[in-house]
Symmetry: C2
Subunit: 244 residues, 2 copies
């Protein structure tokens, strides 16, 4: 027979699947043990449970194991990125089909699109998809493929093929480096083919970065500046002269 303790752990994680948060007191009465015992159970299984001031949560909700230097990237220039998104969102209209690149830069773009707009959003990053699916009035299209933790995104041949069936009005592309002469580059090679194909198919593309990226050049070059209608940063929008 399985020890009482093991059964409690299973019961508790079961209850959490359903409730997402459980107060210590609830958990105790649910499991028919004292609060102290629940405390001990939770403390002994940090892999399964998180504990926040009297509340038990699934460990998954907390684990700062966010893939990607995402965790690291998210803090730096977070405010600038949000401002850049606010500018970029002005280019989105009702009924549009947009493409949202991976990374942290464009994560808040969707927050600046009025709830009333019904749009279709194409993405290939897990964190972006998650946000999009929470929004109503939004069709979400995901490009599949192999997962790359470095950018929390998927890519592969069939993801690229999916793009052939889509009509994208406006693509929002981000970059880890923007050199005003050479163009836009990113740190991970697997992202480049996706970005390039999107840029080639979309009616118009915008390059969205916080200004700290300007002047930098990363390993994977993916587009010259004149591939974009404009460069958008927290400071606003800069038209790109199409005269070579």
């Amino acid at each position: 027979m399985v020890s009482r303790k093991a059964k409690r752990i299973v019961d508790l994680s079961g209850a959490l699947l359903e409730r997402r948060v459980l107060h210590l007191k609830e958990a105790a009465s649910l499991l028919n043990v004292s609060e102290m015992t629940v405390r001990r159970d939770v403390a002994e299984h940090p892999d399964q449970f998180g504990y926040l001031g009297g509340h038990i949560v699934p460990a998954a909700d907390l684990d700062a194991d966010v893939p990607y230097e995402l965790a690291r990237a998210a803090d730096s220039h977070a405010a600038a990125k949000r401002e850049a998104c606010a500018h970029a969102a002005k280019h989105i209209g009702p009924g549009d089909t947009i493409f949202i690149d991976c990374g942290t830069t464009l994560l808040s773009l969707i927050d600046y699109v009025p709830e009333s707009y019904s749009i279709t959003a194409v993405c290939y990053a897990l964190n972006v998809a998650e946000k999009l699916t929470r929004r109503s009035n939004t069709n979400v299209v995901m490009l599949g493929g192999l997962y790359y933790p470095s950018s929390a995104s998927f890519s592969g041949a069939s993801g690229l093929e999916t793009l052939d069936h889509l009509g994208i009005n406006t693509a929002f592309i981000s970059a880890a480096g923007v050199d005003l002469n050479r163009g836009a580059s990113c740190a991970h090679f697997h992202e480049a083919p996706v970005k390039q194909k999107v840029i080639s198919l979309a009616q118009r593309s915008f390059l969205v970065v916080d200004s700290s990226k300007i002047g930098k050049l990363k390993a994977a070059f993916f587009a010259p500046m004149d591939a974009f209608s404009s460069l958008i940063t927290e400071e606003g929008e800069t038209d790109i002269a199409h005269a070579g």
Copy 2:
């Protein structure tokens, strides 16, 4: 100019993107205001923030706004589902490529695979993908397509094409209904083509359900019983007689 308050809210949700949990004290010093102010900010934006005994979390982590009757389905028979997964996981070996179906049934399958096994997992549901990407030693392949909130999964022609490039050893398929004569069915039509193609390509397929599903029949029929090597429930494994 934007009110100071509005900027704080944006900063706070930005910090949460990165940290997932923020202690009241940290938040206060981060925003350069008193704890009391942070309390008030959080209380005024229940849509964005959750608050658990001194800790601020993104509302999304708590909000029972889990898409799908997922929320509803998750509680019922949760223990049975986990037990079924424990049985099913015995069929996974190091180096395998497995397919994990959508729904809540197979969510805990991955928990029963030893950390030391390096595997490749193919999926098409957002909640499954999320769990898989948290695991080390795991290649994750996602089938893309249009998002269906009803099952938190993606499907479409190009997702199906992706399957052609994959060699799947073992497929774990779940169902909303299992009729021992007619076979397996699910509630959403978009899932059926994916399940069918996977079953046709995988070396072997297992049907994994909690026993409450047995005897039920849902709208979208997708496979006869003899398409599966065995039926796995919380009570264990039942070989399926291949004699018609």
